[in-house]
C-alpha cells in the first residue's frame, strides 16, 4: 500500500490548519470589534465557504489562480511558476473551506469570554496587544483548540475543491479523499475499503480529541470562590 495520499493529506491539512488558525483568530477578533451592522455582513461573507459547494470554491480558485487567471498570471510573471495542479494549491482550497469552522468556533469563544477580564487588563495600563495575547488567548484556549482540531479534521477530508485545483497525480497531489474516489472509479474496492478504514480511524481520533477538549472546558467553569470559604 502506497502511503503517499495519507502523507499528502496530512501535510495539506496541517499547513492549511496553521493558516486557518491565524486567519480565523484574526477574523474573529476583527469582526468582534466591528459595529453591529457591518459585523453581520462580514460574518456572512466569512461563513460563506461553509455552505458553498466545494465545486464552486474550486471553480473560483481556478479562475483566479489558473495560469490564465489574474493572480495566476502575476505568479507566473514574478516567480515563473504556477500554482494550480500542485499540492500547494490544495492548501489554499482547504484553508478556504475550513476557515469558517475555525472562525465560527473562535468567534463563539471570544463572545462567551468575560469581557471584564479584558477591561481589567486595560484599566491596569496594559497594552491591547498584551491583553490579547496574555489574557484573551489563554482564556479561549479550549475554544481555539477545538476549532483547530475541527478545521484539521475537515481539511483532512476535503474533496471537491481539492480535486479541482490540484487534480489527481499519484505521488504528487493525491489525497485520501481523491484516492478513495479514484479507487472506487477503478473498481478497486479492496484498497478503497482500506483507505476508508484509515480515514475513519483518523477522523474518529480527531473527534475524540475535540470531545475531550469540550468536556475539559466545561468542568473548568466552576463557580469561582464558592468552595474553601
Amino acid at each position: 500500500m502506497d502511503w503517499f495520499p495519507l502523507y499528502n493529506s496530512l501535510r495539506i491539512a496541517l499547513i492549511s490548519t496553521v493558516f486557518t488558525f491565524f486567519l480565523g483568530i484574526f477574523a474573529a477578533w476583527c469582526v468582534a470589534k466591528l459595529p453591529s451592522g457591518l459585523k453581520g455582513l462580514l460574518d456572512c461573507v466569512l461563513t460563506l465557504p461553509l455552505v458553498l459547494p466545494p465545486t464552486v470554491v474550486g471553480f473560483f480558485l481556478l479562475k483566479l489562480l489558473g495560469p490564465k487567471g489574474p493572480v495566476g498570471q502575476l505568479i507566473t510573471a514574478w516567480w515563473d511558476t504556477k500554482l494550480t495542479m500542485t499540492w500547494q494549491a490544495s492548501i489554499l482550497a482547504v484553508t478556504i473551506v475550513t476557515f469558517p469552522l475555525m472562525y465560527r468556533t473562535v468567534r463563539g469563544a471570544f463572545e462567551s469570554f468575560d469581557k471584564n477580564l479584558l477591561y481589567a487588563g486595560k484599566t491596569l495600563g496594559r497594552s491591547n496587544a498584551w491583553v490579547f495575547w496574555r489574557v484573551l488567548m489563554p482564556g479561549c484556549r479550549q475554544g481555539l483548540m477545538a476549532g483547530t482540531v475541527l478545521a484539521f479534521a475537515r481539511g483532512l477530508g476535503e474533496y471537491g475543491a481539492t480535486s479541482m485545483v490540484s487534480g489527481y497525480t499519484p505521488g504528487r497531489t493525491a489525497t485520501i479523499s481523491t484516492t478513495v474516489y479514484q479507487l472506487w472509479r477503478e473498481g478497486n474496492d479492496a484498497l478503497a475499503y482500506q483507505w476508508v478504514g484509515v480515514n475513519l480511524l483518523i477522523s474518529f481520533a480527531v473527534l475524540l480529541a475535540i470531545n475531550l477538549l469540550e468536556r475539559r472546558e466545561k468542568t473548568v467553569k466552576w463557580p469561582a470562590g464558592s468552595p474553601e470559604v
Partner: protein, 350 residues
C-alpha cells in the same frame, strides 16, 4: 478630585449622571439596573458616553466638546470589578505583576513583594484565583489595582460576590486597606448599611439620573426624595397633600400630621422610619391610632405591622420596630397609638 458629568442614550435606558468626588470614599447608591456599573465604566473608559466631561485632578479624561477621549490605559483609574476579574491563567503574584506599569523588572518584583506584604498574601503567591476564597480574591484584585498606581479608584459592589459570613470581615479589611489611598474612591452598592458605614458622601442614582450628591448623614437624616428615602431603608411612606393650615394630609395613612416646619414646594409624600414611631398610651398631637396586624419576632428586635385609619394594605400599613423588651413591656398589644415627633417626619418629593 473627580468631576463627572455625562450623558448616554441606550434607547430605553438613558444615563444622565453628574457629580463630583473628593479624596475619600463617595458612595453611588441605587436600585438594580439604575446605571451604577455603567457610570463607572464611563469613568474608566470602557464605555464611551455620548456627551459630557470627565475630569480627574485637572486632567481631562473625556470631553465630548473638545473630542478628548483617553484610552483606559491612559486614564489611570483603578476598577475593582463586581466579580474581581482576576486573570484565571495567572498566579496571585503574576496577577499583581500584571498591574505594575513599566518594563523595569526589578521594580516590578519589588512592587509585587511590597503588595503581597501589605495585603497579607504571603502564603498565596503561587496559587491560582480559583483556589482562593472570595475575600482573598478581593484582596488580590485590590493589590493588583493599587500596584498600577491609579489616581482614582472605582469599586463595583465589592461585597456582592461574598457570602454573608465573609462580608463583614472583608468590609473591615477593605476600609483599612483603602484609608491610605490619596485619591477619590467611588463605591457602588445597593446596600444602605454599607454606604452608611463606609462613605462620607453619597450620590443617589435613580433610573439613570443622578440626584445632587450629599453628605451621608444628610441623606439618612433628611432624604429629599421618595427614591432616596426608600434607598436609606425607610419602609413607612404615605402620599401626602399639604394643607392650608401648615399640616400635611397623609392620604395613605388616613391622618393629618404637623411637620412643625414649612412644607417645601413639591412635597408629595411623607415618611417615617420604623425606629422613630413611638407607642403612646393615648391619642394626642401627631398620633396615629393603629391596629396590630402581625408581630414578627426578629433576631434582636420585634417588628410589628399595623393597619392605619387609611387601611391595612400596601402603603397604608405601618411598620414599627422595637427592642424586644420594649414590646413586651407594652400594656396593650392589640391596638396602639403611634406618635411621630414633627422632626422625625420626612417630607419627600417624588
Amino acid at each position: 478630585m473627580l468631576e463627572v458629568d455625562i450623558r448616554k442614550d441606550f434607547g430605553k435606558f438613558k444615563l444622565n449622571v453628574s457629580f463630583s468626588a473628593d479624596r475619600g470614599i463617595t458612595g453611588l447608591l441605587g436600585a438594580s439596573g439604575c446605571g451604577k456599573s455603567m457610570t463607572l465604566k464611563c469613568v474608566a473608559g470602557i464605555v464611551t458616553p455620548d456627551a459630557g466631561r470627565i475630569v480627574l485632578d485637572g486632567r481631562v479624561l473625556f470631553d465630548s466638546g473638545k473630542r478628548v477621549d483617553l484610552s483606559p490605559q491612559e486614564r489611570r483609574v483603578g476598577y475593582l470589578f463586581q466579580n474581581y476579574a482576576l486573570f484565571p491563567n495567572m498566579t496571585v503574584a503574576q496577577n499583581i505583576a500584571a498591574g505594575v506599569r513599566g518594563r523595569d523588572r526589578a521594580r516590578r518584583e519589588a512592587m509585587v513583594a511590597d503588595m503581597v506584604k501589605s495585603f497579607y498574601l504571603e502564603d498565596l503567591e503561587r496559587k491560582y484565583p480559583r483556589q482562593l476564597s472570595g475575600g482573598q480574591q478581593q484582596r488580590v484584585a485590590l493589590a493588583r489595582i493599587l500596584a498600577s498606581e491609579p489616581h482614582a479608584l472605582l469599586l463595583d459592589e465589592p461585597f456582592s460576590a461574598l457570602d454573608s459570613y465573609l462580608r463583614w470581615q472583608v468590609e473591615l479589611e477593605l476600609g483599612e486597606l483603602l484609608s491610605p489611598f490619596p485619591g477619590p474612591v467611588l463605591f457602588v452598592t445597593h446596600s444602605r448599611d454599607e454606604v452608611y458605614r463606609m462613605c462620607e458622601n453619597v450620590c443617589v442614582l435613580d433610573h439613570g439620573r443622578s440626584q445632587p450628591e450629599q453628605d451621608v448623614h444628610t441623606l439618612f437624616d433628611s432624604p429629599a426624595t421618595v427614591s432616596s428615602c426608600l434607598l436609606t431603608g425607610c419602609k413607612n411612606l404615605s402620599r401626602a397633600v399639604p394643607g392650608p393650615d401648615g399640616r400635611v394630609a397623609c392620604t395613605d395613612w388616613g391622618v393629618s400630621l404637623d411637620p412643625g416646619r414649612d412644607i417645601p414646594e413639591g412635597t408629595t409624600h411623607v415618611g417615617v422610619r420604623s425606629h422613630y414611631l413611638r407607642p403612646v398610651e393615648a391619642p394626642g398631637e401627631n398620633t396615629i391610632p393603629c391596629t396590630v396586624e402581625r408581630v414578627i419576632d426578629d433576631v434582636f428586635s420585634t417588628v410589628v405591622l399595623l393597619s392605619t385609619p387609611g387601611g391595612g394594605e400596601g402603603y397604608s400599613r405601618l411598620r414599627l420596630e422595637l427592642p424586644k423588651e420594649a414590646w413586651a413591656a407594652l400594656s396593650s398589644r392589640d391596638s396602639l397609638c403611634l406618635q411621630i415627633r414633627p422632626e422625625d417626619l420626612l417630607l419627600l418629593k417624588d
